[in-house]
Symmetry: C2
Subunit: 212 residues, 2 copies
DNA sequence: GTCTATACTACGATAGAC
DNA sequence: GTCTATCGTAGTATAGAC
């Protein structure tokens, strides 16, 4: 049995139905194997769930890494360069959140955030934490403002604009009077979010100048 | 048996564990009644779930209504007045999303958005739709820009900044290095979101002037 | 209307054959 | 390692007493 195939099916089931809603029988059947193989390989449903979380952290890390892993530290960048890095990360994040390919990942993570278990620690520790901390540093550099508390809140609002595309997908589709978010819609959304990001960062710079 | 008490317990259970995760036995036991009373009153678990959705739509509507139900149409307002209405709605939305009092409601709705059933239609139709459409109109009036498509996308990003506080609560708490979001933190977040909202609207106005 | 008792189904875990 | 068979538990639904 190909383990990654079982994990991918497990992620899809957990994403669609949640930890309690998904059944090991169903997952095993979809993977064309016996349910007891889950017990054998992962020790049970819980173990499978945690393995799925690790798999997501690894896969998503691979997908997002090129957008923010440039080797040099954010603090060493020019403000304009930091800002363009922010745009790059946000853009990649939109692709990940809006795209159907990783729908299962993002749904899995969303569910996990609502009732966090150990799986959340693994995902946060594996990828999300690094992305968010990097964004904080970049916001500080881009605005020339060394206030981490404010930067963190700004980062939260920035990712909120993206998160909503997945977390409130049903609302977004209804409001936009669409059935799906295709490439064109993604581009429109990305353009608006980029404009908002610039507006938010510019305001942060303006606030800073007012103070000094 | 007090029906609204059973519904409140049901909402809490559904919010915490999801439709499949929650058990009718558990809900009935917590409400101090027999499980079969759920069958009698609601026809089963599904019926209870839908009744819970209706209850949420009614209660949340009552809570949010004062913020956006002023009688007169958004189109008749001055831009500044429209903007202050937007701030009022967003602020009320933050209180609702950040507060622990309505945690069960928002979690219920969040879960529903991930795998929408008929319950979502009821909630959207009862309250959320009206709030979003009102926001769209207000954005148009506040920016003097009669472009509904853009306004809708802006509204999505505006509520995204708020939604993230609940949908990604676990991430927000980790990033802010907190255990809870208390009144002070809520105020800080609200201030930032208000500043972002102004920045976004101002940019929208600036874009409009560039074109003309 | 509300509760008790029960039927039926599906789940996760485990033991054991191969 | 993988599968089959089975156990105990927990779920919903239903019938019937009161």
């Amino acid at each position: 049995m190909l383990q990654h195939r079982l994990l991918e099916i497990a992620i899809a089931e957990f994403a669609a139905k949640g930890l309690e809603g998904a059944s090991t029988r169903g997952i095993a059947a979809a993977a064309g194997t016996a349910m007891s193989s889950i017990t054998y390989h992962y020790g049970g449903k819980e173990g499978l769930y945690l393995a799925a979380a690790d798999y997501i952290a690894a896969q998503a890390g691979e997908e997002m890494a090129p957008a923010f892993d440039h080797g040099d530290l954010p603090a060493a960048l020019a403000p304009g360069e930091a800002r363009s890095r922010i745009h790059g990360i946000v853009r990649q994040f939109i692709e990940t959140m809006a795209g159907e390919r990783s729908a299962a990942w993002s749904l899995f993570i969303m569910r996990e955030q609502m009732a966090p278990t150990e799986a959340f620690e693994r995902i946060y520790g594996g990828l999300m934490g690094k992305m968010l901390e990097t964004l904080c540093e970049l916001v500080c550099t881009a605005t020339g403002r060394d206030d981490r508390d404010t930067a963190r809140i700004v980062v939260i609002t920035l990712i909120g604009q993206v998160i909503v595309l997945r977390a409130s997908r049903a609302t977004v589709l209804k409001l936009m009077r669409r059935g799906t978010i295709d490439a064109a819609a993604t581009a429109t959304l990305a353009a608006r979010i980029a404009a908002n990001t610039d507006a938010i960062l510019d305001r942060l710079i303006a606030e800073c100048q007012e103070i000094s």
